[in-house]
């Protein structure tokens, strides 16, 4: 139960940790699209080098990045295999009935896997070096223009931070109720499947009830402390845009013409 880490933030003092969440969010968002500009060895090389630089700058241990990659690794492997065997171009390396492996297919598979890897690593780096609260603050700030379109930006950000804040609480609660029901003879981790599905009800009902109660209490506590949305509300943590943030965005912007020039 306890080894599911949500909000995988790893505290650190690297340059990436100290950047404004807005610049990181914008950069990652842009990079997700920019990666698609690459289409040959040179352009992919540029992007891979950039990713490696980002990893080094973050000074996050590789173990944590691997942890972020693990859930998606299978998808990447499947993508690689499918692309390798179903793209027919270039010389044949291997041909047997249904299976044909060609140089072109292999290259295509490698490119697409790298593309996926880069995207996942970039977003992982963002969540590894930015606290969930900073991400929500950054998002709220970036989405501010949409307020003119009556999009409830503040409420949306608040919802996000409350959800994040209560994930550990809910997990604790789940564990507690699971234990209580185990003591009443429920088997969560053994026995036939039908029985295990039945065991979900005694877990979910109390969990929902306590979640609703908690929400009510929280709303009451917020109102008691004078909360009334974002009208006239100031922030404890002010976002600070620095030189390194401008630099990061500059790198991302310059990357676009470079890739366009180098791509085949």
């Amino acid at each position: 139960m306890m080894n599911i880490i949500i909000g995988q933030y790893v505290p650190g003092k690297s340059i990436l940790h100290h950047m404004d969440p807005r610049s990181k969010l914008l950069a990652v968002f842009a990079l997700i699209f920019i990666v698609f500009l690459a289409n040959n060895w040179v352009t992919y090389g540029v992007i891979v080098i950039l990713t490696l630089v980002a990893i080094v700058l973050s000074r996050v241990r590789l173990r944590f990045i691997y942890k972020g990659l693990k859930p998606i690794l299978l998808v990447i492997i499947i993508t690689f295999v499918l692309n390798a065997f179903f793209t027919k171009s270039g010389e044949a390396i291997f041909d047997y009935g249904w299976f044909h492996l060609t140089t072109g297919g292999l290259q295509q598979a490698a490119f697409i896997s790298v593309r996926l890897l880069v995207i996942v690593i970039m977003t992982t780096l963002l969540t590894l070096t930015t606290t969930p609260i900073d991400i929500t603050d950054g998002l709220e700030n970036l989405l501010r223009p949409f307020k003119k379109l009556r999009f409830p930006v503040h409420e949306f950000a608040l919802m996000m931070s409350i959800a994040l804040r209560f994930i550990p609480t809910l997990m604790e609660e789940t564990e507690k109720i699971m234990k209580a029901q185990t003591a009443r003879g429920v088997e969560f981790s053994s026995g036939p499947l039908t029985q295990r599905i039945k065991a979900i009800l005694p877990l979910l009902v109390p969990l929902f009830i306590s979640a609703f109660k908690r929400a009510e209490d929280l709303a009451m506590a917020m109102e008691a402390r004078g909360y009334r949305g974002d009208i006239g509300r100031t922030k404890l943590r002010l976002l600070k845009w620095g030189l390194k943030d401008s630099l990061l965005l500059l790198v991302v912007i310059v990357l676009i013409p470079v890739l366009v020039l180098l791509r085949g």
């Binding site: 209580a180 009800l201 009830i209």
Partner: protein, 290 residues
């Protein structure tokens, strides 16, 4: 029959940066039929200890022997289930575990899980509800329409209906009003004296520990500091204060009287009437004396 704990050690999240020693080489034996309370500061390992007694936590090292059951690091789930039938556990705020549509169904849930027939479970639900002093008309009500104190009783009835031989209680009276508090404790005392249940209860209330238990276990930082009769444990004023604990009100009172008269008359008394009588006698003597 007795509960024997040998070299019990528990480490949370071993081999990780979050590793924490919760229980440190605990050795204790508790004969069946006793009423034991455990006191200790928050984080002293009380709850971790309790959860080992019915296999919700498994020891990192050491073993727990309850009758013919033995819990070790790699105990099988199948063996644990029959153990859990014999060792009932009431968690803190047990009303949070209610989930059925009616009180009757909720109380029957445990017995049915442990293989009772429908009729037997229903019979036990009636009996358990009577034990916790709730009227039979409650059987058809939804547990979520009841007051907090009533919900607590229903939840406790749900455990009693399993008919455990050992009852483990983690602060069963937290958040109850004084009357509910006393009634629940009287129920446990009755179960202990009349039904022969072994009771092991964690409490923060020194008066309860003094009044109800045969023996008190004091825990600190995962270790068992003392286990003895309340008269002996609560005479160790300084030690308890050092551990962030307290002594019963009556003993505080005796200490104040002692200080006032410059004579040490502190003696382990926990009942109000006894203490009042004792102090009255002392004052009588003081008046006649010098």
């Amino acid at each position: 029959m007795e509960i024997t704990v040998k070299h019990l050690t528990h480490i949370y999240q071993p081999n990780s940066p979050f590793e924490r020693l919760a229980l440190d080489d605990i050795n204790v034996s508790i004969p069946f039929g006793k009423f034991i309370t455990i006191i200790g500061h928050t984080g002293s390992g009380k709850s971790s200890f309790l959860q080992h007694l019915n296999g919700l936590l498994k020891p990192t090292k050491g073993e727990i022997i309850i009758g013919d059951h033995k819990i070790v690091a790699d105990s099988k789930v199948k063996d644990l289930k029959s153990l859990r039938q014999r060792v009932g556990m009431v968690f803190q705020y047990p009303e949070h575990q209610l989930f059925e549509e009616t009180v009757e169904k909720d109380i029957m849930f445990g017995p049915l899980n442990f293989g009772c027939t429908e009729d037997e479970a229903r019979r036990r639900a009636r009996e358990a509800l009577e034990w916790v002093h709730l009227p039979e008309s409650f059987l058809e009500r939804s547990p979520f329409d009841l007051s907090g104190g009533q919900m607590r009783r229903v939840a406790i009835a749900g455990i009693l209906a399993i008919r455990p031989e050992v009852l483990i209680l983690d602060e069963p009276t937290a958040g109850l009003d004084p009357r509910g508090h006393r009634e629940i404790l009287d129920l446990f005392q009755w179960l202990n004296k009349e039904q022969g249940l072994t009771i092991i209860m964690v409490t923060h209330n020194m008066n309860d520990a003094a009044l109800y238990s045969d023996e008190v276990m004091v825990m600190d930082k995962g270790r068992l500091v003392i286990k003895d009769r309340p008269e002996i444990v609560f005479s160790q004023r300084e030690l308890l204060f050092d551990l962030g604990l307290d002594i019963p009100q009556t003993m505080h009172f005796l200490k104040r009287v002692s200080d006032k008269f410059g004579k040490d008359i502190v003696t382990p008394l926990f009942r109000l009437e006894e203490t009042a009588h004792y102090v009255a006698q002392f004052l009588e003597k003081e008046k006649d004396g010098p």
